[in-house]
Structure formats: C-alpha cells, structure tokens
C-alpha cells in the first residue's frame, strides 16, 4: 500500500499519548513486577529488601501454588476445545443463507457482551443446589434421583465453570471464524462441487485450510484470556472446594488481597508471564502461523 512517506514528526506526535499511557501504566508496572519479585516487600510498609530468588524457592514449597500450576493446562484445554469446536460449528451454521439470519446472529453473539462477573452470577444460580434449574431438569428427566450439589465436588464445580465459560466464549470464535468464512470465494466451492467433493471433503480440504490462520490466532488469544480469567472463578467457586479449581491468576489475587505481599505475588506473576511467552512463541512456530499467506 502507498504511504505518506514524508519524513516528519507527525506520526510520532499522533502516537505519543498512546505510547505514554502504555509506558507508564503497562510497561513500567511490568518491569516493576520483575524487580519486585526479587524483593521482600509488602505494600503495608516496611523496607524493600533484596532477597534474590528466595520468593521463587518459597513458591516451589507452596502446595496451593503447585496445585494452581497443575490445574492450568487442563483448565485451558477443557475450556478452549469445546469453544473452538462449537464456535466453528455455529459459524458454519450462521454462514448459510436463511431468513432471519441477522437476528439469529445478533442473538447468538450476545453472550460476548456479558461480563464475566454477570455470567458467574447467572450460572451460579442456574446450578444452585436447591432451586437451580439445571438440577431441576435433570431430576424431572429422571437422570438424577436427587438434586445435585454442583459446587461440593471438584469435578462438578469445575464443570459448572466450563459450561458458563463456554456459553460466553463461543461467540468470540464464531464471530472471528465467520469473518474468515466470508472471505472464501464462492467459486472455489462451486468448482469443488463440480469435481464431486462432498460436504465433509469440502470442509477439510477447502474451508479448514482457508480459516487456519484465524483459528490459530483466535485460539492463541483465547488461551491467554482463559488463563487470565479471574472474575468467573472468583465468584463461582473462589477456587474451591478445597482449592480444587484454583488457577494461578486467582491465587495471585487471593494471596495479594489477603496478605498484600507484593514480592511473593510478583514472583508468581513473573512465572505466569514467562510461561505464556514461551507458549506463544512455540505455538506460533509449531502452527506455522501466516506461512502461507502474507499479512
């Protein structure tokens, strides 16, 4: 694309406020986090004391931290896979021509606009052990004999959060994939159909390769956002029962609000970011993101 290639200060002036905001309220705090992780420091007061890697070695002996780390990968997979699969299906469904398509899309995408806290409130009530409607339906259908106390066992508590999160997360995948589907020229399908390729073959040989980059990018973004979720876990199970559904960000927040121990919590934050960066790099390399198409 043609550019206004004059040498001028204009672009810098235009970007200055943005870069200043990011530098002061994102970059500085991030560097501060790294710095704090090598110190013993509480916001409540006291001096900052350099203690090297002591925070990190303390972490290795913290049973809740270990639990949270172990939960991280299953938590991400159990959330991402249903969202990706259902999101793709919904996108294919809503990409067809039918009457009322605009309304159907508008309704199907609404959960995206609902905040995590509100999703948690709603689903906590839907799964309520005494008057929750999901328990009531299962009882009426004769699938269970008594009302399920969803939040009392680790598996079912985790299940409630995955249902809530999936309901909210599908639209993001559906919208992104739908956008990609609309960029596939109709003629490709027509000629494939002439060649006798069936629905399944068309999906795997045309659709999937054409939307691969979108899937890679949305999955990466969603993985990071899923790891980042605090509100839903905080207000549905708060990591319980017995820390069985705790994740690293939730533990960081719990620990920070309970102790205001900046040093220790920063050490956890540093490990989280490090793991995310390594994951992102590996993921983008393994998936060969953007190799076929040039953006």
């Amino acid at each position: 694309m043609k550019m206004l290639a004059r040498r001028s200060a204009i672009p810098y002036v235009m970007l200055l406020p943005t870069l200043a905001l990011i530098a002061v309220f994102m970059l500085y705090p991030m560097l501060d986090t790294v710095w704090l992780s090598f110190h013993e420091y509480s916001i409540m007061g006291g001096k900052k004391a350099f203690i090297g890697l002591e925070n990190f070695s303390k972490l290795m002996k913290d049973p809740i931290f270990i639990k949270a780390v172990k939960h991280t990968i299953p938590w991400v997979l159990e959330n991402i896979i249903p969202q990706l699969v259902l999101g793709t299906l919904i996108a294919l469904l809503l990409n067809q021509n039918f009457k009322g398509r605009g309304l159907a899309r508008a309704l199907a995408f609404t959960p995206w606009a609902v905040g995590g806290m509100i999703v948690a409130l709603i689903f906590r009530f839907l799964f309520n052990g005494s008057v929750g409607v999901f328990g009531d339906i299962l009882l009426k259908l004769g699938i269970t004999e008594t009302r399920v106390a969803w939040f009392s066992t680790a598996t079912s508590a985790l299940g409630t959060m995955i249902v809530a999160n999936t309901w909210r997360g599908i639209p993001f995948f559906a919208i992104s994939i739908l956008a990609a589907l609309q960029n596939i020229p109709e003629e490709i399908y027509e000629s494939a159909q002439v060649d006798g390729a069936g629905v399944v073959r068309r999906f795997f040989q045309i659709t999937l390769p054409m939307i691969k980059d979108t899937i890679v990018l949305t999955t990466l973004l969603r993985t990071i956002w899923t790891l980042n979720i605090v509100d839903i876990i905080y207000s549905m199970t708060n990591g319980g029962p017995n820390n069985s559904t705790i994740t690293l960000p939730v533990y960081i927040m719990q620990k920070f609000t309970a102790t205001l121990d900046s040093g220790y919590c920063s050490a956890m934050a540093v490990l989280l970011v490090g793991a995310l960066l390594i994951f992102s790099i590996i993921y983008l390399n393994v998936s060969k993101y953007g190799k076929e198409t040039i953006y």
Partner: protein, 279 residues
C-alpha cells in the same frame, strides 16, 4: 415427495432446526434471570421450581432502583465506561492513522509493542498499579479505573482501527490536500467519516469491556458508593441473607446498556473482527 419439498425439508433440518436450538440455548440464561427478577423475593428459594414468574411482581426492580447505592453504582459504571471510550476513540483515531498512513522508523517496533501487550495477563498489572495509584493519590477514585481500562483496551482497539484505515483509499486524502486541506482537516473531514462504522465498533468494544471489568474495580475501589455495577452485584452475593431477587433485577438492568449497544453494532462486528485479525 417432490424435489422442492424435499429440499425444504433438508433446509429445515440442517439449517433452521439447529439455529433455533442454538438460539434457545443462548438466550435461556437471560430468560431465567428475567424469570427470577419478576418473582416475589420470598418465593425464589422455595420449591417447586417454576419455569415462568408464578409469583409475579415488579418489587425487585422497585427496591433495587430506590436503594441509593445501586443508582449510584450504575452512574459510576456509566462514567467509567463513557470516559474510557472517549479516551480510546480519540487515541485510536490518531494512533491508527499514524500506523496505517505513515512510514516511520519505529513503526514495526510500535506494532510489536501493541501486539505484545495482548499477551500479558491483566492480573500482573494489579500488584504494581496498586502502588502507582496510591502514589498518584487516585486509589479509591474512579479515575484509576478509567486509566487502567483505557490502557488495557487501547492496543486492541488501535490494531482494529488500523484495519479500518487500510480500507480507505489514500487518493481521497491526497485529493483533499491538493484542494488545500491540512492533514488534520483531511483526517477529520474525509477519513474519519469514511471509517465511522469502524470507530463506532471500536468504541462499543471499549465501552462493553470497561462496563464489565471486575478485577481492577474490585481492588482499586474501596468505598461502596464508588463501586461499579459488577462489584456492587458481587458484594450483594456475599451478604448474609442473599437477596436473589435484587441480584437478578440488578443483573438485568446491568445487561440492558451492553446488549443495546451490541445489537446496534452487530452488523459491523464481523467486518471489524476480520480487520483486527488481519491487522
């Protein structure tokens, strides 16, 4: 069966049936909270479970709207989300323009920075920003939320805006400049009107995210009259006798602005996302 009606059958089975089923699944949680919010509060926790407002009343709405704090909480959320949106729109218009129209040395570095900020979990900002806001004396002040929401949403909105600018031919501005417009005049008279739907989408995205933001609002605000809606609702849940009717009514009220905005921008959303994902 004729071919035509066979075709119709097939369409109903592969298209309408799954679409309608999915829509019902999607809207069921809303329906259930509307049902609860219109049920007499003393009957909500009692069996049997009614699938419609059997003990119908508007009391939950009346009570929560007259309770002083909730109206204030709504106003707080409105202030935070509106201010955040204005800041983001202003900065994205200029920033996106610079990124998509100019060739300058730091360009790829800035783009990398914007993308990298998307990789960082928000929770890690919590600890250091806590100290920053205490030092700036804006802890327990809505300004802290406006700042943090604007900063965390800005990169994505700006990347999205770059995509919209890319769709406007540069010859339009050149023509305007030949006619004697300055760069800024050309930007606001020609380019901004052309990408207005995109800017609206960006703004809506920022508004919805700030309206819903919970973790920072919970930690940076201490006084209940300054709580935003998600925090206020969360606090109601923690009370000794939980007022489910009030929570449901408050939730429905909190959903109205975002769902209205969402319904309005829905048609731009797919185009907006393809712009953002392409960059």
């Amino acid at each position: 069966m004729s071919i035509k009606s066979k075709k119709k059958m097939r369409k109903a089975l592969t298209c309408y049936l799954p679409v309608i089923m999915w829509i019902l699944i999607t809207i069921f949680p809303y329906y259930w909270f509307i049902n609860i919010s219109l049920t007499d509060n003393s009957m909500i926790m009692k069996l049997p479970v009614y699938y419609y407002p059997h003990f119908f009343t508007f009391d939950n709405y009346k009570k929560i709207l007259t309770a002083m704090d909730f109206a204030q909480n709504f106003k707080n959320s409105l202030i935070v989300a509106t201010m955040t949106t204005l800041v983001i729109i202003a900065l994205s218009i200029f920033g996106g323009y610079a990124m998509s129209r100019y060739q300058f040395k730091a360009k790829s570095g800035v783009m990398l920075l914007l993308l990298l900020t998307q990789m960082f979990p928000g929770i890690i900002l919590l600890i250091p920003l806590f100290s920053v806001f205490v030092k700036l004396k804006i802890y327990d002040n809505l300004l802290s939320l406006i700042i943090v929401n604007a900063t965390t949403n800005l990169p994505f909105c700006m990347i999205m805006c770059c995509g919209f600018y890319a769709g406007v031919p540069i010859t339009l501005e050149e023509a305007a400049q030949i006619d004697g417009c300055t760069t800024i005049q050309a930007l606001f008279k020609i380019v901004v009107p052309a990408i207005l739907p995109g800017i609206v989408t960006c703004g809506a995205f920022a508004f919805v995210n700030s309206w819903n933001e919970f973790v920072y609002a919970l930690n940076f605000i201490n006084t209940s009259s300054k709580f935003t809606i998600p925090v206020a609702l969360s606090m109601m849940q923690g009370e000794f006798t939980v007022n489910y009717g009030g929570i449901a009514a408050g939730t429905i009220i909190a959903l109205i602005p975002v769902l209205l905005i969402f319904a309005y921008i829905q048609k731009y959303l797919v185009a907006g996302m393809s712009g953002a994902v392409k960059g």
